[in-house]
Amino acid sequence: MSDEDPVLRKLMAAAQRGESASYARLLETLLPILRRAAHGRWRAASPADIEDVVQETLLALHNARHLHDPARPVLPFVLGILKLRGADVLRRRHRLAARESALDDLPETSTALATNSEQEEVLDAGTLRASIERLSPGQRQAIEMTKLQGMSLEEASLRSGMSIAALKVATHRGLLALRKRLGGGQ
């Protein structure tokens, strides 16, 4: 057992009594020990990962203060938390890393982040506008009123003088025609 453990035990007992200064001293004393232990245990981990593990250990220790038996040494308790929490943190890291791509390495003009590389072309506003222009007058009016201006069928019926049923048919046919022209198929 380390020579500093009697000191740590006193500090831990004081921390359990709610003495902030002793607790701060305890954590400051533990900090280099935890960093060294984490580095020794996970040699391949990056310095950022090691610091994350140390911070998670301190957070878990804070929540587990009451679990320490004053009759038992402090270091095995804290290093036990480091082992358990560290494994959790690094496992989570690896799981995330397997699902994520680093953004820093990609040039600003890269299309790698586009969720659908053809989306821009298909939804190009100009193409869409031109396709609407080529619809029959009735279909164009129905699409513009119900889909672009967001009118209800009743409103569009009042404005255009078309019946609701005729509007529905014109909208449906207009949408089919647009889909065909924009290459979306049925």
Binding site: A24, L27, L31, E51, L58, F77, G80, I81
Partner: protein, 222 residues
């Protein structure tokens, strides 16, 4: 956030905490609450008429002792698993009495096979075991969950596995005092099967039953 900053936040406005009792004392508390509950279930169901005769049979005594030891070591291992500084051997302690329990019943199965042939290993449906073990193990399970929630969330799945094993083993030990089921193969399949099932369900519920506490930084943000 820098770790030094984190230390400053954590040590600010520190509240006192009461250290939990040692594991041994908490196991005694579990026994003190669970044994009367199991006894009450046994008393309510009525003792089996041949109990006096069975209590002098070494096989029956060994099976009951193994079940009770499994319960005791299961509770001990569960409470140890919640703490970060307990050695690994303590977490697997229940394996020894559980293996003894299985071996005792296995030997009885073998004896039946030698005496009666395949007829000695006939398996029928026993619909009583599962609910009866659940009934006998209910209070022990509730008590161990309360003790675990107060006493540590580390290794939650393992803690719940052992806690479930302890409760189910105690429920089974009680069941043998009021339910006549002497065919070893039936005991292995229905009783040990129920114990294994309850333990696995408990392990799967580990993170639900014992969620890690909220980060102290969350309180800081509020």
């Amino acid at each position: 956030m820098k770790t030094e900053q984190l230390i400053a936040i954590l040590s600010r406005d520190l509240t006192p905490v009461r250290p939990i009792a040692p594991v041994g004392r908490r196991v005694l508390l579990w026994l003190a609450l669970s044994l009367p509950a199991a006894a009450l279930v046994t008393w309510h169901a009525g003792l089996r008429p041949d109990l006096a005769a069975r209590l002098i049979e070494p096989h029956f005594l060994l099976t009951e002792a193994a079940a009770l030891l499994t319960a005791l070591t299961g509770a001990y291992a569960a409470l140890c698993a919640g703490l970060p500084d307990q050695p690994r051997w303590k977490l697997w302690l229940p394996l020894a009495p559980f293996a003894l329990w299985l071996a005792t019943l296995g030997q009885q199965c073998w004896d039946s096979f030698l005496r009666l042939g395949p007829a000695g290993l006939t398996l029928t449906t026993d619909t009583m075991c599962l609910p009866a073990i659940a009934e006998g193990g209910l209070v022990p399970a509730i008590v161990i969950v309360i003790l675990l929630r107060r006493g540590g969330w580390f290794r939650a799945s393992h803690a719940c596995l052992c806690g479930g094993l302890a409760a189910a083993a105690l429920g089974t030990a009680a069941l043998n005092l009021y339910h006549i089921e002497d065919a070893a193969i039936m005991v292995i399949v229905w009783q040990l099967g129920a114990v294994a099932l309850f333990s696995l369900i408990a392990a799967l519920l580990g993170r639900v039953v014992l969620p890690p506490p909220a980060s102290p930084l969350a309180a800081e943000k509020n």
